[in-house]
């Protein structure tokens, strides 16, 4: 990730929306003790370094200010790892359906 965003780069900013202590009444203590934080992506309206306050224009044309946290945001969620317990469960079920006397799709072919 670049340390500096240029004007027009697609970036992500972060803003504290409610400080700890300003949170909704009745939230659990662990939530009440941390701020409500927002992240939004958009095009940088000025040059900025990571951690700088910056304004961005979102894809619908809204201007949002916040601290620059990402100069080149990435979708990094993935499929995780194969889970052996799940693979085994599937294989066992397939074996059960191959037992003699079990009706299977295509038996009448």
């Amino acid at each position: 990730m670049q340390e500096i965003a240029q004007v027009g780069d697609y970036v992500q900013v972060e803003q504290v929306v409610l400080q700890a202590g300003e949170r909704a009444p009745g939230v659990p203590d662990d939530t009440a003790s941390v701020p409500l934080v927002m992240r939004v992506k958009g095009f940088a309206l000025s040059e900025a370094a990571i951690g700088d306050e910056i304004k961005i224009e979102t894809v619908i044309g809204r201007t949002v200010s916040g601290k620059l946290v990402n100069t080149d945001p990435r979708y990094d969620h993935d499929f995780g790892r194969p889970v052996p317990e799940i693979v085994e469960a599937g294989l066992e079920a397939r074996t059960l359906l191959r037992e003699p006397g079990t009706r299977r799709r295509g038996d009448d072919l």
């Binding site: 300003e22 619908i60 969620h77 499929f79 469960a89 059960l96």
Partner: protein, 474 residues
Amino acid sequence: MSAGTSFAAVMSRRGEIISRALGLDYSRFERGPLAFDYEGMMEKTGYSLEEVRAIQRDVGVGYTPLLELRNITELVRKVSPPGKGARIFVKDEASNPSGSFKARRAALSVYEAQRKGYSGVIAATSGNYGAAVASQACLRGLDCIIVQELFDSRMVGQPEIMEKGRKCEAYGAEVVQLTVGPELFYMMLRLLEETDYFNASLYTPYGIAGIETLGYEVAEQVHERCDRYPDVVVVTHAGGGNLTGTARGLRKAGADDTEVVGASVDLSGLHMASDEDFNRKSFTTGHTGFGVPFATWPDRADVPRNAARALRYMDRYVLLHQGEVFYVTELLAVLEGLERGPAGNTSLAAAFALAQEMDQEEILVVQETEYTGAGKHPTAQLTFARENGVQVRRGDPAENVPGAQIVIPEGPEQIEVRDFSLDRMRKSLIRNAVRHTGVEEVSSPEVDFLCEEINRDRNFVTAALCELQVAVKD
């Protein structure tokens, strides 16, 4: 921070913001402190079933395939008593444009927004509804903002919600991503106030009328193929809209005797607004954290009167463990060749157990699937669970502990549903209605209203009111 954007200040403007963002006058349906004219609201502000079908057809929503799960049915019969094991069908809602049944709700909401002249729409949702609204908004040329609860305070995102956010962005929406907390609604109000966009709430009459076509199609498709209506339809239950709309659609098709079963993943013990619990959940919807509170007090939603009122329609409510739902998600993939879910497969897990109670000639319909993808997949959720200290192992699913242990069944015979008392939820709804309105006595028409709200007789309602020391006027 200025006084204008403090939590209390924004919430105090809630009524006017929501009213402007819906263009809908709910006050004309109020009938006293407790009661309102539910059917009147649905008729006068919604659309007829024919209109809904036309609107949805125009944008490629609905008319999804009904698939018979023959291999899963065969597996059910292997573990059922002789003669038992109903035929299981699934409505493949993943084939809607945005990958879930939520497209049906969004099609109506966004149509309504456009008809009323709004230039954009906003929805506060961490679920499939976001992508559904974004998809419908872009095809109608409206701007769209989706507000999500995504991160814990470490800024670690729930993988399933990250995927849903990505999908919203793919449809050109702005996605506002927040840390854990119920202030999602507060943020939505601020954005509505700033933009003057339409509140594409899940809980308007449009949001519910859009699902009636799903129930109607289920009845129609089963009748066409099997010459009878389904005996049981199982619905994954969270906010109540899916169950309400489906049940209403079944009735509109004439399937009056079909039993409607709600199914949720049991996440009891985890607090829905807790920063620490947030990433210890492996299901972000279809769970008891929404299912119980929304059924027992629907008017907690982002509209004055929630059109999703599950207790009016629910004949039975059953709970599943997380491990059971992951297990049937795997069965659906490797036995039927359908990679779907996992959250939407809560009803499939319930069906696997419920079919064992039913005769082989009977028909059970699982009324939705949802698309699967990176983050939104058992491997993604289970990998994430392990990284967050949750143990994943084979064993007896009854040993499941939400947030600590996910137990994948050792065999199909271990999948069981646990009934959650509907009468307990009904009493809870009455208690909530009394508490929220502060009434000390209720009129006879209000008793009738409560009877409809919980689908029970006057004796039940008056006994419950009596327990709360609320008098019934003649």
